[in-house]
Amino acid sequence: MAGVKAFNFKVVLLGEGAVGKTSLVIRYIEDKFNDKHVSTLQAHFSTKKVNIDNTRVNLAIWDTAGQERFHALGPIYYRDSNGAVLVYDITDEDSFQRVKNWVKELRKTLKDEVSLAIVGNKMDLEKSRVVPLQDAEDYSKSVGAKHYQTSAKTNKGIDDMFRDLSKRMVEQAKNKPAATPTSSRTVLAGRSDILVSDTIPEAQPKTGCCS
């Protein structure tokens, strides 16, 4: 990507099991939805290229295990991510609570360097909604996140959500060059002692946007 202005973003998908994370990604990557999920596609790691105002953006979407028992592993997944998509099921109050927990953690560890998207999925099941839209929007605003409504089943809002998130990540990256993904080279997964060498930060901005 030398010479071409392109951004590499890591987007981590968080959310309780069965809120539709997998369907959401499959829909976004392949534009497919299947009630029975007869698909050979893998949904846990996917990449997508997006064009935002003539800027090439490469999204690497990391799915995470939603089970409660893996909650503690969150940090190693969302470390160095540029964006987080927090998915909840509009018919499930608990899943919204889980989202709130994630937000707290993310803000604590990644501060404002991460762009958050709170996504109410399964909007096709509007009839059985239990999480009021107003509440979700108010909450999102209060934590500096953006709220979206999607339906993986009817393919509503997914593309827009990712596009909007990419836009916000690009802005974030432009404001803070150090926050581009390649800066992650100094903070390696699982390392207890973070590498802080005086010479490294100099190298970051240059390699940052054109790794």
């Binding site: 990507m1 030398a2 590499n8 973003f9 890591k10 998908l13 099991g17 994370k21 997998t22 499959i26 029975k36 999920h37 007869v38 698909s39 050979t40 596609l41 893998q42 949904a43 846990h44 790691f45 990449t47 690497a60 990391w62 799915d63 995470t64 295990a65 939603g66 089970q67 028992r69 893996f70 503690a72 592993l73 190693i76 997944y77 160095d80 991510s81 993904p181 390649t182 992650s184 080279r185 100094t186 390696l188 997964a189 699982g190 390392r191 002692d193 590498l195 060498s197 010479t199 490294i200 190298a203 240059k206 390699t207 054109c210 790794s211």
Partner: protein
């Protein structure tokens, strides 16, 4: 090898008696002992030598000396390294090639760039390798290696010497750089004592969790399906292989391969697409099953020495993160994380009980097959029984049908009696010569031939048959 001095020295000193005063002649080669006393001495002091052939003492003494001396003095260091080189030469060609090739490959990949730039990179690399070999801590090694990666990456991007290179060539250079540094320093930086301790802890931990099965982990792997269990074996093989690779890229390849096999296993087990929800538990299950050697060391090694691009946001990074997650989960695993009562968990951990077998997980393949065969046999038995029943039923049906048929037949016959007129017996007196026979039939053309009904009439001794081919049947 032998200097001119040596033989003369031996010659002079051979007349000396054995140091042990056993009465035999001593030899300078055996430090003044006779052969048997030297052997005794050797056994006691240098327990490691089992050679029957007697080693040359000066060499042994030399090695002992240099390994005892602390590494700090630069003179001995150079000596040691030199010896390493010599030793490698003696050991075999392979190790020597390992030492030469990485630089050669790196130089080759730098071919297109200008000479001074390439030389500078090579020089930097050599410096780093030498520094690491001089015995600095692993953390420091990691730092200077990462620094090297960064500075070379920056050089490639910015300096004129490399302006002709395209993207993939730059990548190749960085890959070769990583390979070169890692291969040359592998023995120095892989698995330092601290990591080794962690490896042992992890290995014991995995051993104590031997009772965990795929069901308890929600791994979603159906081992009864041959395709799934085969893929599982391949995954285990791939992750065990991790330790045999020397460069971070090769190690990460192993993790990728393992992950791909796990996906195959998951796909074979259910129709659902593979999501992180079932991938991570499956990976944990594979790690528990495989208990790969030096796993923690390998993890730390990759984190310390892989080039930053690899551990960014790419696919390899994703799977590596999953492996780290799996290790963390295994280390922290408790009753809560398996959603089972604390007492139950403790009992399993103490080995007092083994979780209930849901009929899917067996100790070994043979047991599984046996169980499978039993089920098949049982099914066959049931099938046979029902078949026998059906045969019996069919038989009674047949008998009933025959009886019924007979009954009906007799009824019909009784209802519609047929009386036949007796044919007139031919006369006894009629001659046999044929003179009494009627004249032969002469064909006659009749217009109404077709309309003659199909009947047979017995009229006297003669009879006429109509022209139809059918022979009339009488019951």
């Amino acid at each position: 090898m032998f200097s001119k001095k040596k033989p003369s020295k031996i010659h002079i000193e051979t007349v000396k008696m054995c140091k042990n005063k056993c009465g035999f002649y001593g030899n300078v080669q055996w430090q003044g002992y006779c052969s048997s006393c030297w052997r005794e001495y050797n056994r006691e002091n240098l327990k490691k030598t089992n050679h029957k052939t007697l080693p040359i003492p000066k060499q042994i003494v030399g090695i002992d000396e240099s390994s005892d001396v602390p590494k700090s003095s630069p003179k001995t260091e150079r000596k040691r390294r030199l010896k390493d080189v010599l030793k490698r030469k003696i050991d075999g060609k392979d190790s020597q090639e390992d030492r030469v090739n990485p630089y050669a490959q790196l130089t080759e990949s730098l071919g297109k760039s200008k000479k001074d730039g390439a030389l500078e990179i090579l020089k930097k690399t050599r410096n780093v390798v030498d520094k690491i070999k001089s015995g600095i801590t692993v953390e420091n090694s990691s730092d200077i290696v990462q620094e090297l990666y960064n500075s070379v990456a920056e050089k490639l991007e910015t300096e004129n010497a490399f302006i002709k290179l395209n993207m993939s060539e730059r990548r190749t250079i960085l890959d070769k750089l990583e390979k070169c540094v890692c291969q040359l320093t592998y023995s120095e930086v892989f698995s330092p004592p601290d990591d080794e301790q962690e490896d042992l802890t992890l290995q014991n931990r995995i051993r104590s969790l031997h009772w965990l099965n795929a069901q308890l982990l929600d791994a979603g792997i159906d081992e009864t399906k041959p395709a799934a269990s085969e893929a599982l074996d391949s995954a285990i093989h791939a992750i065990v292989d991790l330790n045999s690779k020397q460069t971070p890229s090769d190690k990460l390849e192993c993790i990728m391969l393992c992950s791909q096999h796990i996906m195959t296993a998951l796909k074979a087990s259910s129709d659902q697409p593979v999501s992180a929800d079932n991938f991570l538990p499956a990976l944990i299950f594979v790690v528990l099953r495989a208990n790969p050697p030096l796993l923690k060391s390998n993890e730390s090694y990759i984190m310390r020495f892989a080039s930053p691009e690899r551990l960014g946001s790419g696919e390899q990074a994703y799977y590596f993160t999953n492996l780290s997650g799996a290790l963390q989960f295994i280390a922290q695993l408790d009753a809560d994380s398996l959603s089972m009562p604390y007492e139950e968990f403790e009992r399993y951990m103490r080995g007092e009980a083994i979780p209930g077998d849901p009929g899917k997980v067996y100790g070994c393949e043979q047991l599984r097959l046996m169980k499978l065969n039993f089920t098949v046999l049982e099914e066959l038995l049931v099938g046979q029984k029902s078949l026998a029943n059906e045969v019996e039923m069919l038989q009674t049906d047949m008998i009933n049908f025959e009886q019924d048929f007979r009954r009906k037949l007799t009824e019909v016959i009784e209802k519609t009696p047929i009386s036949l007129k007796k044919p007139i017996a031919p006369d006894a007196e009629t001659p046999t010569d044929g003179s009494m026979l009627p004249s032969p039939l002469i064909p006659q053309s009749t217009g109404t031939l077709a309309s003659i009904p199909v009947t047979t009439c017995f009229t006297g001794s003669t009879f006429e048959i109509d022209n139809s081919d059918e022979t009339p049947s009488l019951l």
